[in-house]
Subunit: 387 residues, 2 copies
């Protein structure tokens, strides 16, 4: 964090209802009410959507990918163009991941040492190197509100030995990330940065490792928030929920909690129920581009022939431009004719659906009725899922 | 035209300056100030743009394709969904072409008789038939403000015999189109339609055939406008200009004149100089998707490496969302990363560029300075074209 930024990352917990929480996270580029869903802008753009769309549907914070932006156009270019907010034309908060998840996904193209990860660019095959220090430096240059620590990510169904090894390395890397981040805050000659660095809690699906990791993070210093990583990476869903349930009892209440990579509606509601405040996923935009729309009655595939002459909106409960303007029949036509507008309109609706979903969850927490609300929502959502 | 529609298609010529004209064409869904550029929505969507985008950049009228909408989703579906305006979510005027241009472009897949054109769908190979009556019926069902007569289109460099033959057929077909259109206006059980049918002037690049075609059209009855077809289809540009120059002296001043298929900036300005009021083309959206942006300094390809770190807007003179929000460096990045948003942002700018260009031409006509304005514009536009 840069000097003078005290208070810029204050998190206020407004209410709890069971494990579920409602709060406000103050970030340099604006307030994020929680629970919050964060759409993913991999290359500095939430696919098919303009920042004006995202503002219109009240998205509060967007995630951008350090790995992708480092490779193309490069953090020097983004910095030279005024930093990520100016680059993307998005003046609300931005969070960057550390690139860890991406480089550890490059099977067979990477070498991991204690120093860092050597890998080849998926774009041009050039050799690259990411370390805790480099990941922090790149994110500093990009200039997001929130940066993530560089962690050692392992597959979802890894064994205990592998999980322990990765966890210990993540812990050592966290200290290096923090040291470098504090140095940058003191010495950087870039335009003033007010950036918070968040640790990532690993430990796979082993409750004791998760608790040990949490202790390590809390021992390493004060933090402005905490991310839960290494979930939603292929493990069975009950295992993910068990980990979150166990963590709910021990996570510090005062910190906002970010569950990484979770974004299907049912998973987001489950995460909120287990005390998570923030989640991100490409699901709404990716599903939208495939023609699948989220609705309270479950996912709907607009390519289905039964929508050919359907005058109804995609989702009668939704207030997005797609649902206010077009019929299902027209949206189906756009997908049949492979028109670009279809990709955009369903992406817009799906992100709006998740933004509204967490806003409704928040209202329920504030009203003390979260359990009933989420039960009713889930019954309706899953009832028609298979139809 | 349906009963009671008197005045709904009034064209008011406000000023002339040389051959160039400024006017207002009143259509059922709104006024079209002329000269006007009409973006093309082939499948009932201007590619990559939403109707809200088109309204924001002040597009006044959109073209949709009868051939494409007949094949998919079918005019019955469009009609059942409330007609083309409701279908597309566009409440301003719409013009539909007759499908003639498309079916005559299907080399080797069509048979032309006096009755009409038998052809195979490019989508599923099914056999289809379009005739003057069918083309008018389909357009009636679609419900555009302006429908086009079904004409016999020939390649741009056809010989005189072929041109004469097509012209005579077009003339006979025009009478059949009109008869059917008048029947529909009297008998249709569809929701009330207020639609005007426009004849298309053919005659290739033979001035005497063009004049003969004009006489035939005027002899066939009263019209609310007149289209010039068969140009911009491969003939040398000087030949197109010679035809327009010759026609400028003989076209009735009281009718709006629509030059079909013209849409590169230099061609639009030349068409306005020769007395045309309306033009359409896919060029702005197609070029935009290729990364080419129209500017007063000539076309710019945003993929060029020199824009990598360019903080300037795409076109400093432009007021569109693209130019108000993003740097050239970011737009280049979107194309390098093959992001959908790039296609949309350059399409939006290019359509706005043409809408602004004709608005500037209109202002010059009203000020009596069109010749000087167009000379200066062209000098600047072509000066840097090769850079």
């Amino acid at each position: 964090m840069s000097p003078g930024a005290a208070g810029a990352f204050a998190f206020t917990l407004e209410a709890t209802d069971g494990h579920a929480r409602a709060g406000v996270w103050r970030l340099p580029h604006g307030d994020v009410t929680t629970p919050c869903f964060m759409p993913v802008g991999t290359h500095g753009t939430v696919r098919a959507l303009a920042p004006s769309d995202l503002a219109a549907i009240d998205a509060r914070i967007v995630l951008a990918n350090t790995y992708h932006l480092h490779l193309r156009p490069g953090e020097d270019v983004v910095s030279g163009l005024g930093g990520l907010h100016a680059f993307m034309g998005w003046q609300r908060p931005i969070l960057t991941d550390s690139g860890g998840f991406q480089v550890f996904s490059l099977e067979g193209m990477r070498t991991v040492t204690e120093e860092g990860v050597r890998f080849r660019s998926h774009i041009d095959g050039s050799e690259r190197f990411l370390s805790p220090e480099r990941a922090v430096e790149i994110q500093w240059a990009l200039g997001a509100d929130v940066a993530m620590a560089f962690d050692h990510v392992i597959p979802g169904r890894s064994g205990r030995a592998e999980a322990e090894d990765a966890l210990e390395r993540t812990q050592r890397w966290l200290v290096r990330c923090r040291t470098r981040h504090e140095e940058l805050a003191r010495t950087s000659r870039l335009a003033p940065r007010t950036q918070s660095l968040l640790p990532i809690l690993q430990g796979a699906t082993f409750p004791d490792l998760r608790r040990q990791a949490l202790q390590g993070i809390l021992d390493a210093g004060e933090w402005r928030g905490l991310a839960v990583g290494g979930l939603s990476v292929g493990e069975p869903k009950p295992e993910m929920r068990a980990v979150l349930e166990d963590l709910a009892a021990v996570l510090p209440a005062a910190l906002p909690r970010y569950l990484m990579g979770v974004g299907f509606p049912e998973d987001v509601v489950a995460a909120v129920a287990l005390g998570m405040d923030l989640a991100d996923c490409v699901a709404p935009t990716r599903m939208g581009r495939n023609g699948t729309a989220f609705t309270d009655g479950g996912p709907v595939n607009i390519r289905n022939a039964r929508f050919r002459t359907d005058r109804a909106p995609l989702d009668a409960d939704c207030d997005c431009e797609t649902c206010r303007t077009f019929s299902r029949g027209y949206l189906r036509h756009l997908f049949a004719a492979e028109e670009l507008l279809g990709l955009r309109l369903l992406s817009l609706h799906n992100v709006r659906y998740l933004v509204r979903l967490v806003a409704r969850a928040r209202d329920a927490v504030l009203a003390g009725s979260f359990a009933a609300w989420s039960r009713e929502w889930l019954a309706r959502y899953t009832h028609r899922e298979s139809s």
